[in-house]
């Protein structure tokens, strides 16, 4: 479903993403790991068509993102970092707008809104202004937006960031369930999450892929250690190191 080849992004003189390639098939959940500033968000922004890569090729469901962006984006759902929302709308009207942008109108639109309100536990805040929502609800509203058109490809940038343990558990469950018939990429700093949800994980450091495999394979990557946390710390460098 998602094919990324030799992706590279240069900002001025800084190489943010350097030669990243991976594929994600339907039914796979790919975890995106790496220290802050490693290029995770930049890579995701390129895959979603927000940033234009300096070089490389991205196809979603066989459609080239760079050549036919509007077509490729139809099969895509995206949750950006920090879950942006239009602050002057209610939850239901925001989701209705997103549904319309996905080509859903009339009763199809209302059905889609009802479906995601239920799926993301948002029925209580349906008519509440986005401005007044707590962080957990904001996050879930933006998450609801990303699945409103039941996309085949889902890209989630730190979907559990800032949620309480109950909410984290719910979102993980949701990702895992949806991962059965979608291709999902999500980035996280929580390594237990990777083991719980991902069928595969990639570790990025300074724009390069430094490890790629199932969580089990990654654990065996460094001799003498047996948790993902230790592997992560031994193969990536803190951002203070030159």
């Amino acid at each position: 479903m998602i094919q990324v080849q030799n992706l590279r992004k240069v900002f001025g003189s800084k190489v943010a993403v350097d030669d990243v390639s991976f594929t994600v098939e339907k039914g796979q959940v790919l975890g995106f790991l790496g220290p802050n500033g490693a290029g995770k968000s930049t890579s995701m922004r390129m895959v979603t068509g927000y940033f234009r890569p300096t070089s490389g090729k991205i196809t979603l469901g066989g459609i080239d993102m760079l050549e036919e962006p509007e077509l490729a984006k139809r099969s895509l759902g995206y949750l950006p970092e920090n879950a942006p929302l239009y602050s002057d709308m209610t939850v239901a009207s925001f989701l209705g707008f997103c549904a319309e942008m996905r080509g859903l109108t009339g009763s199809a639109r209302n059905k889609a809104v009802d479906r995601v309100l239920e799926l993301c536990f948002l029925e209580n805040v349906r008519n509440q202004s986005v401005d007044t929502l707590s962080k957990g609800y904001r996050h879930r509203t933006c998450f609801a937006q990303s699945i409103i058109h039941d996309p085949e490809v889902l890209i989630l940038d730190e979907p559990t960031d800032g949620l309480d343990p109950n909410q984290k558990h719910e979102i993980r469950g949701l990702i895992k369930r949806m991962g059965q018939n979608k291709a999902i990429i999500f980035s996280t700093h929580i390594l237990e999450e990777v083991e719980a949800v991902c069928s595969r994980a990639i570790i990025i450091d300074r724009g390069k892929v430094v490890a790629d495999g199932t969580p089990e394979q990654l654990k065996k990557l460094v001799p003498g250690v047996n948790t993902l946390d230790e592997v992560f710390r031994s193969i990536t460098r803190p951002d203070t190191v030159k």
């Binding site: 077509l71 239009y86 709308m89 319309e100």
Partner: protein
């Protein structure tokens, strides 16, 4: 243009248009606009004292000065707000072309301004009640006034594409609108023409021709020239092109 283009543009337009009415800024601006445009007409323009059922001098004359400040205040949120909230990223990963969003947003702002302008109807009623005005100049005057407002809004759209700060957008847009007004202001142009060598006069005249004022002035007096309409339309097109470039630079 296919159905999808129209549907996307309409969806953007609808959201944007409704969001103006959810914001107190809009109501404040409309009230100030009505107070200013009608206050100027009655007090400074001496609408009632001139004994003349014409709106050109007392009413439309003041509009450019009002638009210079108020049109950027209406338009400054157009793209700045999207950048600040981060919803720009969301919007650009949806299946729409940037043009659909740019046009949708601009048309929403334009319609909001049309409502504001329509609310100045008491001035028209006043002159109709007190005298027997010629409807032609009133229609061209309104058209000129509206085109001026659209020009200012388009400039604001371009400025807002480049910054996430509404304050920066507002100041830059006001400065640009003042510039575009003053370079064609008759008094200033005449002074400049008198001070520069005669060989440069054609350049000064050309620069003043690029001004909003130059094209507004004739129209506000009731002389409807297609060229002037075309001028404002090209200002809008160029500004929206600059908006497009600005949005693209944010995604580079």
């Amino acid at each position: 243009m296919n159905n999808r283009d129209v549907a996307n543009t309409l969806a953007i337009f609808k959201r944007e248009f409704l969001s103006y009415f959810n914001s107190p800024v809009f109501y404040v601006i409309v009230v100030i606009y009505l107070l200013a445009s009608m206050g100027f007409a009655f007090f400074f323009g001496r609408l009632l004292d001139t004994d003349n059922a014409s709106l050109a001098q007392p009413f439309f004359f003041w509009h450019p000065w009002i638009y210079i400040v108020l049109a950027p205040a209406v338009g400054m949120r157009m793209w700045s707000e999207e950048h600040r909230l981060g919803t720009f990223e969301l919007l650009m990963t949806m299946p729409l072309s940037p043009w659909q969003a740019i046009v949708g947003k601009f048309v929403a702002a334009a319609l909001v301004w049309a409502i504001g302008l329509a609310l100045t109807f008491p001035v028209v009623l006043t002159v109709c009640w007190l005298g027997d005005p010629d409807p032609g100049p009133i229609v061209t005057g309104y058209a000129a006034s509206y085109l001026y407002a659209l020009g200012c809004l388009a400039v604001t759209s371009a400025a807002s594409a480049y910054t996430r700060s509404q304050v920066v957008c507002f100041i830059v847009s006001v400065a640009l609108c003042i510039l575009l007004t003053l370079i064609g202001y008759p008094g200033i142009v005449d002074t400049v023409v008198r001070t520069v060598p005669a060989s440069l006069e054609s350049i000064v005249r050309f620069v003043s021709y690029l001004s909003f004022m130059d094209h507004f002035y004739e129209m506000s007096k009731g002389i409807f020239v297609f060229r002037d309409v075309l001028y404002f339309l090209s200002v809008i097109v160029v500004s929206l092109l600059v908006t497009h470039l600005g949005l693209r630079s944010k995604r580079a």
